[in-house]
């Protein structure tokens, strides 16, 4: 995977089993690029992503329905309230049944009628995670979900991820805060300069 002359990901063979995997590494290691490639938002220069042993096709609506993604930004509309954003994306995925649950899980009830543009960066992050969970995806791809969060808010996000997970689902959580993700992750992947330097299973230090 290259951007001009910059090689973002190279010689990367990664098999991610069901469970929650932490994705770690220094800045510019390729974490965000890897998440975007898996989501189908970035085409690879070479190679492919397989899902259920089939090449991922981002034009396949079934695959898109299966993915919940949070990138660097919140992916929300600033002029709409938190509730309106969740309703909007929920309707596009054909389900709004989980909205109440994810709003409660992330402790956003009192902010549901606040416009996203009026939220702090940390609250926007929580709202973004809620948005990614609203259609109950099979694959959850989170890029720095703990950015700008205090400890209590980070714990809420961790709890929301744990609540979402069930057998057969996959989550990949990219974070600088390895300790926080390792507390509940099934595997850890360390990237450096676009290469996987470590891929270990079962890293959870606590219980899910």
């Amino acid at each position: 995977m290259t951007f001009g002359r910059t090689v973002a990901l190279s010689d990367l063979h990664l098999e991610i089993g069901p469970g929650i995997a932490g994705l770690f590494g220094p800045n510019a290691a390729g974490k965000s690029t890897l998440l975007r490639v898996i989501a189908g938002l970035q085409e690879t220069t070479r190679g492919e992503v397989l899902w259920n042993e089939q090449p991922v096709n981002v034009r396949d609506e079934g695959f898109r329905r299966a993915v919940g993604y949070v990138g660097h930004d919140a992916g929300l509309y600033r002029a709409l309230t938190v509730q309106e954003n969740l309703q909007f994306f929920g309707l596009l995925y054909g389900t709004t049944a989980k909205i109440e649950q994810v709003v409660a899980r992330l402790n956003l009830e009192s902010l549901a009628s606040t416009r996203v543009g009026e939220l702090s960066a940390g609250l926007r992050r929580r709202a973004a995670v809620a948005r990614a969970l609203v259609h109950d995806p099979q694959i959850l791809l989170l890029d720095e979900p703990y950015a700008n969060l205090d400890d209590d808010a980070a714990n809420l996000v961790s709890a929301a991820i744990r609540d979402w997970w069930s057998d057969g689902r996959h989550a990949l959580v990219a974070s600088h805060g390895a300790k926080r993700v390792k507390a509940f992750a099934d595997a850890s992947i360390i990237l450096q300069r676009g290469h996987v330097v470590s891929h270990r299973a079962r890293v959870a230090e606590g219980t899910r």
Partner: protein, 242 residues
């Protein structure tokens, strides 16, 4: 709410979201209307006082009919007002990278194109409804019963304009200099539509009947471009956004 929203409903949902946000933020329409009013006012001073639509004005090295000048005024104003609006087509999605999320929802991307095109068309029509009557008054035009062919020309020009403008707004959406890129890409391709619109409008100002208008063939040009830009826009949108 259970699963089952179809293509049309999702497209309507996205368009409705954009209109709702514009209703709150009022960023696009006021800019377009202000531009049109300011340009019309300036143009009103550019013709000799008391010029009549049937006359010709001296325009070195020869002369040009006032009807042609006014028709050109009208469509150049609409063209640039439209480009101001179209440049904002994906601005809402850029703010918090919502475009990435929108590209992942289970909806054919032609639905996203259609939603954005409908919103752009709505903005353009609102601007025209607010400003064209003023244009008519300002330049002393008497359209009489010719409002119907005029409305038809407006709609046909708008459809092609919006189809192409929305497609090129998507092309330039992720570019750093998108405000510059959009007119550079769109203007050359829009020339045939605006020539057809200008020719038809000048004839309407001069009192041509619908039959005369139809015989000149410009309607065929407009309909052909509308169809081409609409179909190409919907088909190419998927690749353009990658």
């Amino acid at each position: 709410m259970s699963d089952g929203m179809g293509f049309v409903a999702k497209t309507r949902l996205i368009a409705g979201k954009d209109l709702r946000i514009e209703g709150r933020a009022r960023e696009v329409l006021p800019a377009m209307v202000t531009f049109v009013l300011a340009v019309m006012l300036l143009l009103a001073f550019s013709l000799p006082p008391g010029s009549r639509v049937e006359e010709r004005v001296r325009f070195l090295p020869g002369s040009v009919s006032v009807a042609d000048v006014l028709s050109g005024f009208l469509w150049v104003t609409v063209l640039f007002a439209g480009l101001i609006g179209f440049a904002r087509t994906f601005e809402l999605e850029r703010e918090e990278s919502a475009l990435d999320v929108l590209l992942l929802v289970p909806l054919d991307r032609s639905g996203l194109f259609l939603a954005k095109a409908v919103v752009n068309l709505a903005f353009l029509l609102v601007v025209q409804v607010l400003t064209i009557p003023l244009f008519v008054v300002l330049f002393g035009l008497d359209l009489g019963a010719r409002w119907a062919p005029m409305a038809l020309v407006i709609v046909l020009v708008d459809l092609g304009f919006v189809g192409l403008g929305t497609l090129f707004a998507a092309v330039s959406a992720r570019a750093r200099s998108r405000e510059l890129l959009l007119p550079v890409l769109a203007l050359p391709a829009l020339v045939p539509i605006f020539i057809a619109g200008t020719e038809l409008t000048a004839d309407i100002f001069l009192g041509a009947s619908f039959q005369t208008l139809a015989e000149r063939g410009w309607f065929v040009v407009l309909i052909a471009f509308d169809a081409i830009f609409g179909i190409v826009g919907a088909l190419a949108f998927d690749f353009v956004l990658e």
